[in-house]
């Protein structure tokens, strides 16, 4: 057992209202520089939809992530031999067209326009070339389905859905969508790190945050291609790759990352998970249907004396172990099993988990009459307007069982609380539902509390950074703002 600590995350999709506050918080702090305008380290997608960059989940196009050949892992986009031949031109590299060309507006014209019969307008200007452009797409062009069925129809997660199910997704006046906020997953088996020819990308040993060493990055762009979530971005101005840093300067000072802090729906949870680093490769090579369970099995019980001893032996501070014991993420992922990794079939072992959304679960019965309590208490989960297969493609590598388990438990908790507070459901029914959903009353209460009544300190259990043990001391959080990194002070200017 090689115990390591990882700062992990849970996003509760039922609570996401799609307001994009997280994206803006992130943009204002980190990606408002030249060359980063198009980057959204945090973005919120509408599902079904094409996402950002367009159809990023389609690995036939982008070649991101790993594939297992007889249990052996290989990157889809590159290998040692391929790096030698593809270093001049990366065949899997997306271009700006797959994202969008960032723009601003000619606001000055509103003030400077000569007097005339028309209202002056502010025309869009490219932030790359500075020329006037016609806007053809944006980072969020399919927001709330984008007013057209074509975005939803092009969602790669529709794979395996029957024509009837696809039609159901788009039925007039029965359209359905939910939000899917995304940041870097800070994976256990990151494709970006494994692909980097320069060894510039690395995972921090202490907390598992994945970073790009800006001095060592040479712009070979292999990381951009290898990340299946397309969360490493190429800065076209500096010639370096950049990615979500999980606001580590904030985390090191005990603050939640900006996107977590600003989340209006309070959907985000952050906490420590202890995991067994010696089994990552083996688990990431399991067949698709076993992946969710294999991933979960890497996460260790922080209350197990054996794990605690092994963690201590590995130099993990007692205070970090203590934080792991209070981790909300551990409860969601390991105890309750209602949070699932996104696209585990990419085999990067993402450490950001999602609670699949219940809200669109409504019967699609034609009369508009929905029978809530039938003999089969969970019938509406399988008849939901978001087909189970769709959610399974997102959170279960195409297999429904884990998603169904999470949704059943969530429904049981709701009905149990309903029996308690509203009273239109009998406690007898509620208890039966809990039993069938593999949930106790205590667990239901705990889920209810952490989902509905969670305070700041419940949601974010941040480990102390132990700066006194760090190789390099950082005095102030903003000391290196707008600088290119640590250890040297030079602005992020393009090379000669």
């Amino acid at each position: 057992m090689n115990v390591r600590s990882q700062i992990s995350m849970v996003f509760h999709l039922d609570k996401c209202i799609g307001c994009h506050t997280c994206s803006i918080a992130c943009k204002n702090i980190w990606t408002d520089r030249k060359g980063t305008e198009y980057m959204w380290w945090n973005n919120v997608e509408t599902k079904p939809g094409t996402g950002f960059p367009t159809r990023w989940e389609d690995q036939d196009k982008y070649h991101g992530g790993w594939q297992a050949k007889d249990g052996k892992l290989e990157l889809k986009s590159t290998s040692k031999a391929k790096t030698v031949f593809n270093i001049y031109h990366n065949p899997s590299m997306p271009t700006m067209d797959d994202y969008y060309e960032p723009w601003t507006y000619d606001y000055q014209h509103l003030f400077n326009a000569p007097e005339g019969p028309d209202q002056p307008t502010a025309r869009p200007i490219s932030m790359v070339t500075g020329e006037l452009i016609n806007i053809e797409s944006g980072p969020n062009w399919d927001d709330d389905l984008g007013g057209s069925p074509i975005y939803a129809a092009n969602d790669p997660n529709l794979k395996g859905l029957s024509a009837e199910q696809q039609a159901q997704l788009q039925a007039v006046e029965r359209l359905v969508f939910f939000y899917f906020p995304r940041i870097c997953n800070h994976c256990l088996n990151p494709g970006c790190v494994a692909a980097c020819p320069s060894g510039a990308l690395y995972k921090r040993g202490e907390d598992g945050i994945v970073l790009v060493d800006q001095t060592r990055c040479r712009g070979w762009r292999a990381c951009v291609a290898a990340c299946p979530y397309k969360k490493v971005f190429y800065n076209w101005s500096t010639g370096k790759s950049e990615k979500c840093i999980l606001c580590f300067p904030r985390i090191e000072t005990g603050q939640a990352p900006a996107c977590f802090h600003s989340c209006v729906g309070r959907i985000r949870y952050l906490g420590v998970l202890l995991y067994d680093a010696s089994r990552i490769e083996e688990m990431a090579g399991k067949p698709d249907e076993e992946l969710v369970e294999a991933h979960r099995s890497l996460i260790l019980d922080p209350n197990d004396p054996e794990v605690i001893a092994a963690a201590r032996a590995n130099g993990i501070h007692d205070s970090v172990i203590e934080t792991a014991q209070k981790s909300p993420v551990y409860q969601f992922v390991k105890e309750w099993k209602i949070a699932l990794p996104p696209h585990i079939e990419f085999r990067t072992m993402p450490m950001l988990f999602y609670v699949p959304p219940m809200s669109p679960v409504m019967s699609n019965r034609t009369d508009g009459k929905i029978e809530h309590v039938s003999e089969d208490l969970f019938h509406d989960i399988d008849e939901a307007r978001v087909p189970m297969q769709f959610l399974a493609n997102l959170f279960g590598a195409g297999h429904e069982s884990k998603v169904r388990y999470a949704l059943r438990k969530q429904k049981a908790v709701r009905w149990y609380r309903r029996a308690l507070t509203v009273g239109d459901v009998t406690m007898e029914t509620a208890e039966r539902m809990l039993r069938e959903a593999d949930c106790t009353k205590e667990e239901a209460e705990a889920i209810y509390k952490l989902t509905s009544l969670c305070t700041f300190d419940d949601r974010f259990v941040i480990p102390p950074a132990h700066r006194e043990e760090a190789l390099q001391m950082l005095d102030g959080v903003f000391e290196h703002k707008q600088a290119a990194g640590f250890g040297f002070i030079s602005g992020p200017q393009r090379g000669m």
């Binding site: 001049y88 271009t95 995972k203 040993g205 001095t215 040479r218 130099g315 393009r494 090379g495 000669m496």
Partner: protein
């Protein structure tokens, strides 16, 4: 060329160029490590990038490797060339790779002139590099066509000259007689070497060889002492 010019350009200049190269790259690596990048523009334009950058790099890497081999193993090259057929094969292959380089380079220049997004990320320094490279490649091709069998006379005449420079006992008897185009080709090569530290050419120095033998995953520890982790 006069004797003085020969001395200046073929003896003094190479030493100056190498000195600038070493001091310049080291200074830049230590003081502005952030600026060491391939400055790839593939993200902004993909199609022409493939058709120009791939032939250019494959061409120039092969041709450069040929120069290095002739420099290091002149006897082997001469032995190989002792059979005419083998000489023709070598010369024609070299010419093909040279033409590949030129095609790629011209494509690259056109791309940088015509694609607006690429124009934005092209500096005037880049244009100087392009001009010099163009001259280098065109003069090289001229020499290959009009002064043929270069693989043999490089091994016989230029290799000893270059070795004499390396051994700090310059001997230009071998090169002083060579045609003007060959000399210009040599001098412009020195200019490129001298310019390299101040241009994007430094990306050649950071070719990521360690990738071939490193473990896929990289973990860095910030703690001073990590028990149990080597």
């Amino acid at each position: 060329m006069s004797a003085a010019a020969n001395q200046l350009l073929l003896v003094v200049f190479p030493y100056v160029a190498m000195l600038i190269f070493f001091l310049g790259t080291i200074y830049r690596y230590r003081n502005a490590p952030f600026t060491y990048s391939s400055l790839s523009s593939q993200f902004l334009e993909n199609q022409q990038h493939f058709w120009s950058l791939v032939p250019f790099h494959y061409g120039i890497v092969t041709v450069l490797a040929g120069h290095v081999v002739a420099f290091l193993l002149p006897r082997h090259i001469l032995a190989w060339n002792s059979v005419p057929l083998r000489l023709y094969v070598l010369e024609i292959s070299a010419l093909i790779f040279g033409l590949l380089t030129l095609t790629g380079l011209i494509g690259s220049v056109i791309r940088r002139l015509t694609v607006p997004k690429i124009k934005i990320v092209t500096t005037s320094l880049d244009w100087h590099v392009f001009l010099l490279l163009l001259f280098q490649v065109v003069s090289g091709l001229y020499v290959a066509v009009f002064h043929p069998w270069g693989s043999s006379w490089f091994s016989a005449a230029l290799s000893p000259y270059l070795w004499s420079l390396v051994k700090f006992s310059p001997d230009i008897n071998f090169v002083a007689m060579l045609p003007i185009m060959v000399k210009l080709h040599i001098i412009s090569a020195y200019t490129l070497i001298a310019m390299a530290p101040f241009t994007r050419l430094v990306h050649i120095l950071v070719m990521p060889n360690p990738y071939l033998w490193r473990k896929p995953q990289v973990v860095r520890w910030y703690r001073r002492f990590v028990p149990g982790v080597s």
